[in-house]
């Protein structure tokens, strides 16, 4: 077999699966993911539908990562959790794997953690968002700082790989508020932290209630504060919004950022198989009734390269030039004419990598657009 074909196979190998559980006991005001209120019967049906989808599409590849996200997967009853894991048993894992399960901190109990552990889960992701109880109403989310601390610590007794999410740039948030949140999160001493600036998306409660995002200058200041503070506390900044203790970066998210192939199972999930990107229906009822893919696109070579660049530049190390060459059989400098961007200090380059300088991460879109615009292949 030609090396090119081998590369094609290697490139298209499925390594990951995302499973969406669209149920929540309470709907947070900022959430625009696919979700509905928890209903035990509906959840049961949903899990059966999930099983059907897996049986139809999954080709028994041993996977490197599984990510169960939501909604709130931890909102499922013990019975439904057992049903779910019975289904997920069908997914094979490699010897070394990462299996993440998203939890609402209020749901965390010894019983739950034991059940997860028994079912191959080895990483937890907990959406804390903020410790600041003044946001309880605005976010439509219970904010009990003591319980947060207690339950995260409980998680750490069972799992050594725990992520917590932090949202910043909340309505009216001040630098002091952010500092308090950061201090608390650092005290938790978890291995992974994800931080996101609040986006007020259309169709969210926040949008309907006419809340406005903080201005760009304030957001930017907060972002760089977070980077500085977490780095000085032993975290590695490895992706625009993600930080980890050395060796604990998220393999599943890296799969996205390396443009690897992955299954997306469940309502509202997205997947990437061979050269097809697809989205499942966002309607939980339709999904239960057997509806699956509602959007599908074939990724041509140019789009594949553009996606690769767009996603890779989210990583602090940016594009690995050797991987690029191995994947696409071309040197990146033969595909993009980015010299001016390097001259203008919008990109930085060393022997192995092409990346966005740390002080420009918060305007990375501008730089990515320019780089994509410098595409010179087939011109």
């Amino acid at each position: 077999m030609k090396t090119e074909n081998l590369m094609e196979i290697e490139k298209n190998k499925l390594r990951s699966a995302y499973i969406h559980i669209p149920f929540c006991k309470k709907i947070c005001s900022y959430c625009d993911f696919c979700k509905v209120f928890y209903d035990d019967k509906k959840a049961k049906k949903y899990i059966s539908a999930l099983e059907k989808e897996i049986l139809t599409s999954y080709k028994n590849e041993p996977l490197e990562t599984i990510y169960v996200g939501g909604g709130s997967p931890s909102s499922l009853s013990i019975e439904n959790l057992n049903n779910l894991f019975k289904v997920l048993k069908r997914l094979k894992l490699k010897d070394s794997y990462e299996f993440t399960f998203e939890c609402n901190y209020e749901d965390i109990t010894d019983q739950l953690l034991l059940l997860l552990k028994k079912n191959r889960v080895n990483r937890l992701s907990i959406g804390l968002q903020t410790f600041n109880s003044k946001y309880e109403k605005i976010l439509n989310k219970k904010i009990d700082k003591d319980l947060m601390i207690k339950n995260v610590n409980l998680c750490k007794e069972y799992f050594n790989n725990v992520n917590v999410d932090l949202i910043y740039a909340l309505p009216d948030e001040k630098m002091d508020d952010l500092e308090n949140d950061l201090n608390e999160i650092i005290k938790l001493n978890v291995n992974h932290i994800s931080t996101y600036a609040l986006i007020i998306e259309e169709h969210t409660i926040l949008y309907v209630n006419n809340f406005k995002e903080l201005n760009d200058d304030a957001q930017s200041k907060m972002y760089y504060k977070i980077v500085e503070k977490l780095k000085s506390n032993g975290y590695v900044h490895y992706e625009i919004s993600n930080f980890s203790k050395p060796g604990f970066s998220s393999c599943h998210n890296l799969a996205y950022w390396n443009n690897y192939r992955y299954y997306g199972f469940g309502a509202g999930a997205s997947g990437f198989i061979n050269n097809i990107r697809y989205d499942n229906t966002k309607s939980v009822d339709n999904y239960i009734n057997g509806k699956r893919i509602v959007y599908k696109e074939k990724i041509n070579k140019k789009t594949e390269i553009n996606d690769y660049v767009m996603l890779s530049l989210r990583k602090i190390n940016g594009i690995d030039k050797l991987s690029f060459k191995n994947k696409y059989n071309k040197r990146i400098e033969d595909v993009f004419d980015y010299k001016k961007l390097v001259d203008d200090k919008l990109l930085m380059e060393n022997k192995n990598n092409l990346f966005i300088p740390s002080d420009k991460l918060f305007v990375s879109n501008e730089i990515i657009i320019r780089l994509l615009d410098s595409y010179i292949l087939n011109k």
Partner: protein
């Protein structure tokens, strides 16, 4: 037809006073068209004219009218109703012996009523004043009658009352046309002198000349000569419009019609020129002036690959519009485009709109400029129609700019506001005529550049829309002018340079830099915007560096959504022009025009 039974006339009026409807009614009355054939405002043949309710290109129509067993040939020569085209109006009027002066029964005399009447009087025409729209509920016939008598000196019994809409008074008007307007004077036996008052282009026959034979005869097959250019042609076709085209063998003194002579473009034809026979030349009729564009601006395609399409569009428009001029121009900011010359602002607007509408090309127009006369320190005189071509200040001895004299008719309670505005626009007061106790005609001398800039908009807002405005160009005067450049991120943006009076430069610079700051999105670095005269910075504002443009959230594996967000941003950028390192939206180039202070 006997010369004694020919009447050549025009209808002159302020915009919207009902000129075109009146023409329709006359055609209907004379049987030139039936009611069924009569589209509203038959003479306005371009869609855009009909939409704007104005006549841009003139036409003429010949009608046979029977009265007392006698047949008369009425030639109605239409005129464009806008100050931009006043030279063309004056040539159309020169082809007539009389004019019907239309005044709206509710509006009274307006600025163009006066301007057009003076043009008619300069051409020694017999005037028939009429008050139109007398059927309107707010018609005030007595008041308007008094205005016409007081302002122009007509007698009460000379004024005819009409409603072009209902047909009232049209018979009386036709009688007056026959009885009062003299028949043409010329002689068939003299040497040929035919006045060109219009031309239109057709792809099959080429340029078609509209003419009035003043003396002599012209026949198919004759060799003719244009007296201003000495160009010679052979007459291929002659005819009249009644209003359908009807070919004739000969046109004689006093007659109005069209002439085809295999002329490739209307640019070869000068309105106001005289046609004579090659073998037996006469002299040029008086009143000929070469047409000169008064206002210039750069037109650039929004998408640079449309440059050739834009050139084709301009070429096609020019085929039928000799007063349009254009030549290629390059701007560092806007790329390749054309410097275009127009008779005035309306002419410019119409051409721009036609390019976008009829040819489907999006264009960016730079701020319009008048033509400056510059005397350099070495006493060389140059004409500058593009601010970016203005020599540097130390090389300039003197700059002269075109001046106009205004007719501004307003209710007298707005006199104060109008005078304040004119003063602000560097106007010099001349005098004021009372039309009646409540309305005045205010005369100022003012630089044309102020009119081109924003005078008309301001006049409307200062007078709540009650003012009517018209002007005539009176010549060049020296002014204390300077060229103001705009620098974006240290680079001169040629398309934004303007010439302004020194006293206004500071204020204008401040407004322009502030406007640009609002219109140009934040960039990856701080961008200073400066207004400079020579090397001196007179105004500055800074666009702060962009602080955020990132997809902070992961959106699960939904890469498509991420890509689409980026593509949307990319599209937005495409609509901007890159100046140095800065993305400038198209609107920014117009911001030098919009000055709301």
């Amino acid at each position: 037809m006997e010369k004694e039974n020919i009447r050549n006339f025009s209808i002159i009026a302020h915009i919207d006073h009902g000129k075109s409807t009146l023409a329709d009614r006359i055609m209907e009355k004379t049987g030139a068209v039936t009611k069924r054939e009569l589209k509203d405002q038959l003479l306005d043949s371009m869609d855009l004219e009909r939409e704007r309710g104005i006549t841009i290109k003139l036409n003429s129509v010949s009608m046979v009218y029977k009265k007392d067993n006698e047949q008369y040939l009425l030639n109605l020569i239409d005129t464009p109703g806008h100050v931009d085209f006043s030279y063309e109006v004056s040539r159309s009027l020169a082809a007539c012996e009389g004019a019907v002066l239309v005044v709206d029964a509710s509006q009274g005399i307006e600025a163009q009523t006066i301007a057009n009447l003076y043009l008619a009087l300069e051409n020694n025409l017999t005037i028939i004043p009429i008050i139109n729209k007398i059927d309107l509920p707010n018609a005030n016939v007595a008041k308007v009658k008094k205005e016409i008598m007081d302002t122009f000196g007509f007698m009460e019994d000379e004024i005819i009352l009409t409603s072009a809409k209902t047909g009232v008074g049209i018979d009386e008007l036709l009688d007056a046309i026959i009885n009062k307007i003299p028949s043409p004077k010329g002689s068939d036996t003299k040497k040929l002198q035919a006045l060109i008052f219009d031309s239109v282009y057709e792809s099959y026959r080429g340029a078609i000349i509209w003419l009035r034979v003043v003396n002599g005869k012209v026949s198919v097959g004759d060799k003719i000569k244009m007296l201003s250019t000495n160009a010679e042609y052979e007459v291929v076709e002659l005819g009249i419009h009644d209003p359908k085209e009807r070919k004739v063998k000969t046109l004689s003194a006093g007659e109005v019609g069209y002439l085809c002579a295999s002329i490739k473009s209307v640019s070869d034809i000068k309105v106001g020129d005289t046609i004579t026979l090659s073998k037996d030349s006469a002299t040029l009729l008086s009143g000929y002036k070469p047409m000169k564009p008064m206002v210039f601006c750069g037109l650039y395609p929004t998408e640079s690959n449309k440059y050739n399409l834009l050139r084709e569009a301009l070429e096609k428009l020019k085929l039928n519009d000799a007063s349009l001029s254009f030549e290629p121009e390059t701007s560092t900011a806007l790329g390749f485009g054309f410097r275009c010359g127009f008779l005035g602002m309306l002419h410019m607007d119409v051409i721009e709109e036609r390019i976008e509408r009829e040819f489907g090309i999006d264009i960016v127009a730079t701020s319009p400029s008048v033509v400056y006369e510059v005397i350099k320190t070495n006493n060389e005189k140059i004409l500058v129609d593009n601010p970016s071509n203005m020599p540097s200040n130390e090389k300039i001895k003197e700059i002269k700019e075109p001046y106009i004299k205004t007719n501004i008719i307003v209710p007298s309670n707005y006199i104060g506001q109008v005078m304040e505005l004119c003063q602000e626009k560097r106007g010099t007061y001349i005098n004021m005529d009372y039309i009646n106790e409540t309305r005045v005609n205010i005369h100022y001398e003012m630089p044309l550049s102020e009119v081109v800039y924003d005078f008309f908009d301001k006049l409307k807002s200062f007078t709540k829309g009650y003012a009517s405005f018209d002007y005539e160009v009176i010549g060049y005067k020296a002014s204390n002018l300077v060229k103001m450049d705009i620098l974006i991120n240290g680079e001169i943006v040629d398309a934004l340079s303007v010439i302004t009076h020194k006293d206004f430069a500071y204020q204008r610079g401040k407004i322009v830099t502030e406007n640009l700051k609002k219109l140009i999105p934040r960039q990856l670095f701080e961008v200073p915007i400066q207004a400079v005269i020579g090397t001196k910075v007179i105004a500055r504002s800074d666009i702060k560096a962009m602080k955020k443009n990132v997809l902070a959230k992961c959106y699960g594996g939904d890469v498509t959504r991420k890509r689409k967000l980026l593509e949307k941003q990319k599209e937005g950028k495409k609509r901007m022009k890159r100046v140095g390192n800065v993305d400038v939206p198209q609107e920014a180039f117009l911001s030098v025009l919009k000055v709301d202070d």
